[in-house]
C-alpha cells in the first residue's frame, strides 16, 4: 500500500506485524490510552541493593524473549548496555529485544549477540556505527523499529512497547533508588529519556558507580519507580559522554547557511519578545544560534525558552538573559551539565514532556523556531536523517520529526551538495520526517519555502534572500553533480520507521 508520505509499504511485515500506515502528521492526535503497570511493592524491611548484575537479572526473572531497555545519556561513553547484555548472554538467555533510546559505536559488542541470536530485536531512535551496519546488512532476526524521541515515549506509555526490565545508568544513586545525573564521575545532567522507562517498565534497575547514603538530593528519578540497585566499578567513560560536536562550525559554507537561516528567522516575524528556539548540536545549527544571538542582542529581544539537547552555547544565551529558561532532555557537554545542576531556570524534561504527541501537550508544541539537519531532502520536502545515500542506517529521527511537527517554523539547514551527492533530490532513500512538517530548506545556494506555507511566502515577498522553488534548488544541485543513477532496492525489510504516532512512514531494506 502507499502511505501519506507516498511510500510503498507492505500491509504486514514479518517480525513486526500488521502495519498501520502513516496518514499525515496530525491525523492521529486525538485520544490516547496509557498502559497499566504491574509492580512488586516493597515493605520497610526490603533491601534494594543487589550485589551483581547476574543476581539482579535473576531477581527480575530474566528469561528468553524479554525486552530490556536502556537510555543514551552516557552517549558514546556508555558501559551499561554492554555490561548488562554480556551477563544476559553468559546466562544463556536468547531472543532478547533491546530497547535502547540510541545506539552508538561503543555498543559494537551487540553485533556478536545479534549474530548468535541472544538479541533478535532492536527498538531505537537513533543508531550509528557497527550495530547500525549489522542491522543494515540483515543480521538482526526481526526488523529494527526506529522511533522518534517523542514516539518512543508514546510507545512506552501506551503499552505498544512493553519493557520487562529497564536499566537506568545512574551517575548518582542512593541506597533506596533515588537517582540523579548531576553528581559523580559519569555526571551527564538530565536523565529525560530514561523517565518513561522508569515509570512504565515492569522492573527497574539502577546501575551506578556512585552509590550514596539515603536520601539523595536532588532527585531526578525517584525511589517509587526503582526495584533494585547494582553498584559497579564504572558506568561510563566521561570522555565519551561529552559530545564532540558542540562547536560552532568554521567552515565558510556552513557559516553562510547559518547566516541565511538566521536572516530567514528574522524576516519570518517570529523573532520578537517571547521567542522560543531549538537547535541540534551540529556545527552549522550552532552557528545559526550564534547569528540569532547577535540579532537578539542588537534588537534587545528577550526570548522565552530554548529546548532540546542542551549545549554550552545555549547555556550562555540563558546566562546572558536572552532566554528566561531552558528545557533539557539531555546535556551535550559539561557546561550544560553544570548549568542544569546549578541554575534553577535550567529545567529538566522527560522524553514524553519533550515530544510525545499523545500526552496533554509536549514542549515541541510551544516552539517557535526549530533548526534541523538533513542527509537528504526531496522535492516534497520529506527529510531523511535515518540512512545514508548508500542505504546504510547512520542515524534516525531522534527529536527531528517531533520538533518539526511542533514548531511554528521548522528550518532544515544543509549543504546543497555533500561529497558529490545532491542533497535535494527527487526522492529520499528513507523518509524520516514528512514534508508537510518542514517549512523551509536553507542551503548555501538558495532557500526553498514549502508551498503549503502561503503565509510565509507572502511575508517574504520583496525579501533579498535567495528564495527559489525546491525544483530550482534541486536543478542547481544536479547541474553541478550530474544526475545520480537510481537504484531500486528490493531486499528484505531490516528496519521499520515509525512516525511519532506509531504509524509506519517508511521501511529500510537490506543493503545489497
Amino acid at each position: 500500500m502507499i502511505n501519506a508520505a507516498l511510500r510503498e509499504i507492505p500491509e504486514y511485515i514479518k517480525g513486526y506485524g500488521k502495519v498501520k500506515p502513516f496518514e499525515g502528521a496530525f491525523k492521529n492526535i486525538n485520544k490516547a490510552q496509557k498502559a497499566n503497570v504491574s509492580l512488586n511493592c516493597k515493605s520497610s524491611n526490603d533491601d534494594k541493593v543487589v550485589s551483581s548484575i547476574e543476581e539482579v537479572l535473576k531477581k527480575c526473572g530474566i528469561r528468553d524473549g524479554m525486552t530490556l531497555s536502556f537510555h543514551h545519556h552516557l552517549r558514546n561513553g556508555d558501559y551499561v548496555l554492554n555490561m548488562v547484555m554480556e551477563e544476559v548472554a553468559r546466562l544463556g538467555i536468547k531472543d532478547i529485544k533491546v530497547a535502547a533510546s540510541s545506539i552508538f559505536p561503543i555498543h559494537e559488542p551487540l553485533v556478536e549477540l545479534i549474530k548468535s541470536g541472544v538479541v533478535t530485536g532492536i527498538y531505537t531512535n537513533y543508531m550509528s556505527g557497527p550495530v547500525a551496519q549489522a542491522v543494515s546488512l540483515g543480521y538482526l532476526k526481526y526488523p529494527a523499529i526506529m522511533h522518534t524521541h517523542g514516539g518512543r515515549a508514546r510507545a512506552i506509555e501506551s503499552g505498544d512497547l512493553h519493557i520487562d526490565i529497564a536499566f537506568i545508568a545512574s551517575p548518582a544513586c542512593d541506597t533506596y533508588g533515588n537517582i540523579n545525573g548531576v553528581e559523580g564521575r559519569a555526571a551527564c545532567g538530565s536523565l529525560g529519556y530514561a523517565i518513561p522507562d522508569a515509570m512504565y517498565a515492569d522492573r527497574v534497575v539502577a546501575i551506578t558507580d556512585n552509590l550514596l547514603p539515603y536520601p539523595l538530593c536532588p532527585i531526578e528519578i525517584s525511589q517509587e519507580y526503582v526495584d533494585y540497585i547494582v553498584a559497579v566499578e564504572e558506568i561510563g567513560d566521561p570522555k565519551g559522554i561529552v559530545s564532540g560536536t558542540t562547536k560552532i562550525t568554521k567552515d565558510p559554507v556552513g557559516l553562510k547557511i547559518a547566516k541565511l537561516a538566521s536572516s530567514l528567522i528574522e524576516e519570518s516575524g517570529l523573532l520578537k519578545d517571547g521567542f522560543s528556539f531549538q537547535t541540534g548540536a551540529g556545527g552549522t545549527t550552532l552557528a545559526v544560534a550564534a547569528y540569532v544571538k547577535e540579532i537578539m542582542k542588537r534588537k534587545n529581544i528577550k526570548g522565552s525558552f530554548a529546548a532540546g539537547g542542551i549545549t554550552g552555547y545555549i547555556v550562555e544565551m540563558l546566562e546572558e538573559g536572552l532566554f528566561t529558561s531552558l528545557f533539557d532532555v539531555q546535556c551535550f557537554d559539561l557546561k550544560a551539565v553544570q548549568s542544569y545542576r546549578d541554575n534553577k531556570n535550567h529545567q529538566g524534561m522527560s522524553a514524553s514532556m519533550y515530544g510525545n504527541p499523545h500526552n496533554k501537550g509536549a514542549v515541541v508544541n510551544m516552539l517557535d523556531v526549530m533548526i534541523l539537519g538533513a542527509t537528504e531532502v526531496d522535492t516534497d520536502f520529506n527529510v531523511n536523517v535515518t540512512t545514508g545515500s548508500d542505504g546504510f542506517i547512520m542515524g534516525g529521527s531522534g527529536g527531528h520529526s517531533d520538533t518539526a511537527a511542533g514548531a511554528k517554523l521548522s528550518i532544515v539547514t544543509t549543504q546543497l551538495i555533500k561529497g558529490r551527492l545532491p542533497i535535494v533530490a527527487d526522492r529520499v532513500t528513507t523518509v524520516t520526517t514528512p514534508g508537510e512538517t518542514i517549512d523551509a530548506i536553507v542551503t548555501e545556494r538558495g532557500i526553498a519555502i514549502n508551498p503549503k506555507r502561503k503565509d510565509l511566502i507572502e511575508k517574504l515577498k520583496g525579501s533579498k534572500l535567495p528564495i527559489m522553488s525546491i525544483e530550482e534548488l534541486k536543478n542547481l544541485a544536479v547541474k553541478i553533480t550530474g544526475i545520480p543513477q537510481r537504484y531500486e532496492n528490493n531486499g528484505k525489510i531490516v528496519g521499520v520507521v515509525e512516525y511519532r504516532d506509531g504509524t509506519v512512514i517508511d521501511v529500510i531494506r537490506q543493503v545489497q
Binding site: 561529497g419 551527492l421 545520480p484 543513477q485
Partner: protein, 87 residues
C-alpha cells in the same frame, strides 16, 4: 602517447580523487575505481576517466582511482596531471 612510469595525482580529501597511473603490460585501458558514490556516479566517473585517457590518444594504461566525491572537472584534471607526469 605512451605511459612510461608510475605517477600519481590528487589527495584523499573529501571531494577530491586520488589517481595512480602506470604502464599496463596486458595492453588496453584498465580502470580500477573505488568511490564513496559508486552506486550513484560509478559509471559517470569511469566515463570521465576514459574520455580523458582517450583525449591523449593513450591505448595502454592502468589507472587506479580512489574517489572521495570529486566533481567531473576535478576528476579530469587529476587524471590529466597524473598522465602528464607518467609520459
Amino acid at each position: 602517447m605512451e605511459i612510461k612510469r608510475i605517477a600519481k595525482c590528487g589527495t584523499f580529501e573529501s571531494n577530491d580523487i586520488y589517481v595512480i597511473v602506470e604502464p599496463n603490460s596486458d595492453g588496453g585501458v584498465e580502470i580500477n575505481l573505488e568511490s564513496i558514490v559508486m552506486k550513484q556516479f560509478g559509471e559517470q566517473i569511469k566515463k570521465t576517466i576514459d574520455e580523458t585517457v582517450k583525449s591523449f590518444g593513450i591505448k595502454s594504461i592502468k589507472i587506479t582511482a580512489k574517489d572521495r566525491g570529486a566533481l567531473d572537472y576535478t576528476i579530469k584534471s587529476r587524471v590529466e596531471t597524473a598522465i602528464k607526469r607518467a609520459l
